[in-house]
Amino acid sequence: MNTATTHDAHHEEHQGGLLRWVFTTNHKDIGTLYLLFALLMFIVGGAMAMIIRAELFQPGLQFVDPQFFNSMTTMHALVMIFGAVMPAFVGLANWLIPMMIGAPDMALPRMNNWSFWILPFAFTMLLSTLFMEGGGPAGGWTLYPPLVLQTGNAFPFVIFSIHLMGISSIMGAINVIVTIVNMRAPGMTLMKMPLFVWTWLITAYLLIAVMPVLAGAVTMLLTDRFFDTSFFNAAGGGDPVMFQHIFWFFGHPEVYILILPAFGIVSQIIPTFARKPLFGYSSMVYATASIAFLSFIVWAHHMFTVGMPLAGELFFMYATMLIAVPTGVKVFNWVSTMWKGAMTFETPMLFAVGFVVMFTIGGFSGLMLAIAPVDFQYHDTYFVVAHFHYVLVTGAVFAIMGATYYWLPKWTGHMYDERLGKLHFWLSAIFVNILFFPQHFLGLAGMPRRIPDYSIQFTEFNQISSIGGFAFGLTQLLFVYIVIKTIRGGARATDRVWEGAHGLEWTLPSPPPYHSFQTAPEIK
């Protein structure tokens, strides 16, 4: 591989000032844009969460009125899911997939640019609705009618911004699939691909399968509101619950879209620091595929209380429980990879281990929710909120942070500050549990979700949770600081960076050349 010449080429291409970022077709530039955008949205969504936690610090109404509180809940979720976690994963895919499979770039570079450059517009549109007459959307991120139809002027803007996000995700996913199927270096067979690539391949498939369904669902909301249709109106022969079915047909696969790439990341990190190959590679691939398959037939576990026929409830309960099996296979494989390794615990590994423990806790509460007769008690309480923050924050977000520490030296050519990184991990891990663990108790004791005020018996745990929340939020400032510091300088990173790292990306210099592999590498 001739890296010297690429280096030269890359200097002249770096000209063009800020506009370079607007016009770029380079997978690394676009990956960087995605990641920075995700970080920005994480802060915006986090700020909204801080408002939620501040209001819930005490019973009574203190800071915001209930309508605004509801729009904070709604926006927080939309921003975190569609603005922070999904773009972060796409950013990682952009940076890593070409490097991991030995390709010069993504397969469809112009479309790659577009799929990113829709996002800032979509989120400007979404966030601007907070200032419109009648306030932002306040019906929850699940957008259930008829409530969502009561939204003020924000309504069509919210719908269209979701359309935009959908277009962006679909284009991003198409690009990932095409890159993986068509751009692999000779010899890089499917079953040699790193797991991160595999999980993204399957995620991209899920995205293409379900984002259009969400687009259809919100389109029906739009026509019900403005064009007299009766999809979700019983008087006209429709059914409000029909929206929930369509939404969750998208929504459940969506939560696996938010976790499968995280599985991939963890499967890269653990072998590196255990200095031992990933245990059960092929069963990991099959488990991922099984999870994806099952994710299409479990959606109504979000709807156990809507009054489905018994047979439906039973089917969805059984199918949901089944997902624990392939997920368990993954967890067991990770533990077996660590078993008898020679482990060290640099920051990425800390996040990966934290992921395995806390994601599993979130998975356990998920399994409890799957048991329909008890979900009648758990549903729409803070127990559910605790569940999904364990899988989303200590799951998806922790994996993203672990990935950042793991690959940042490769991307920037600088080592991050290991001491600060470890501090960031430990503070995050402690505070996130203070933040979300008590929410299990709140839910079990009977606190409903999406309420701005609560009865006094819930005060203590809410205060603990809020304190944990503020502390967790502040800790993330440290993350921002570490990342900026590493981008700007620091000890030079070697090409391999980590002693135990394997894979094509580590054969490139740090930072890698503008076009990852000018000539296809040889795969042994």
Binding site: A324, K340, V353
Partner: protein
Amino acid sequence: MWVEKAKRVLTALAGAASMLGGTTASAEYGLNLHRGVTPISHEAYDLHMLIFWVCVAIGVVVFGAMFISIIRHRKSRGHQPAQFHESTTVEIIWTTIPFLILVGMAIPATKALVAMEDTRNSDLSIKVTGYQWKWGYDYIDSGVSFISSLATPRDQIENTAEKGEHYLLEVDKPLVVPVNKKVRLLITSNDVIHAWWVPQLGMKKDAIPGFVNEMWFRIDTEGTYRGQCAELCGKDHGFMPIVVVAKNEQDYNQWLAAQKAASDADAAAAGRDWSKAELMARGEKVYKANCAACHQAGGTGVPGAFPALKGSAVATGPKADHLKLVMNGRPGTAMAAFGGQLNDIEIAAVVTYERNAWGNDTGDMVQPSEVKAAR
């Protein structure tokens, strides 16, 4: 003040720690699911505990193995990495065992679910209707019906008064049911989706406009049980409590008779002409309970969301239009049709009130008979 609070937080934490430590949770801090007062809630509780302990056990094994590895197999201790990385046998084992565990959970879960969904052979049926943001109850067999809304005073919510013991969990008129009877609820909604949930009764069901859902419970102990609307239904979703009072047969029958007498009296009074003072007094009550949530106590509304009635063209314009609007609502907006929720007297009173309060001094009034004619 702060010391007191810190203490409470600490005790709560101690409670949490003891729960994690394995000692039985102290119910006082509300750590765990309620065991409840119905057969259903008991079953849900038992299942909950079963699955919880299964998860704990699996967690102990998985995390145990992991932590042993973390402690023993580290490079700093000079551990050399093994190179094994595949074993079809173990993969099969750890696919099969969890599967069997799940089957073990699914069996009792199925039984419980089948029992919960069986609403046949009930002793009593009550229709429950969700409104933004209150509940309506109709005792189908005895013709008694009323609306139940939040009773916590505004100043407690706005922190200008000390919060009561049942802050946000108190209503003006609770749902009263007999103990040891199978009560069937027929749940629906008038506007958006709500959910009827009382944790102690072990069941939650959505109230869906245009459809009727069924659920049942049989309470075994007399007492007062509190719950809340559990599906986001707009601004005051958090202020839509449910209170169920379970009485013995005799007390229940007495209560029912009293309710019937009161509604008969109202029906009789609807025939006569009411004085303005009477209408205004009743109207203020009705307004506070039904309208103030949106249009505000002072009739000022919320700009951009709910119009002011103070000086509104409708409330000071022709009487007939005003009456019609209140009875039929404005389809497609949050303004519901109150014709079905309020009786003739209440509508007459609230319209009269709106036409004369806050300086709307139109001077006219609406009689219950006029409302009846407009129906």
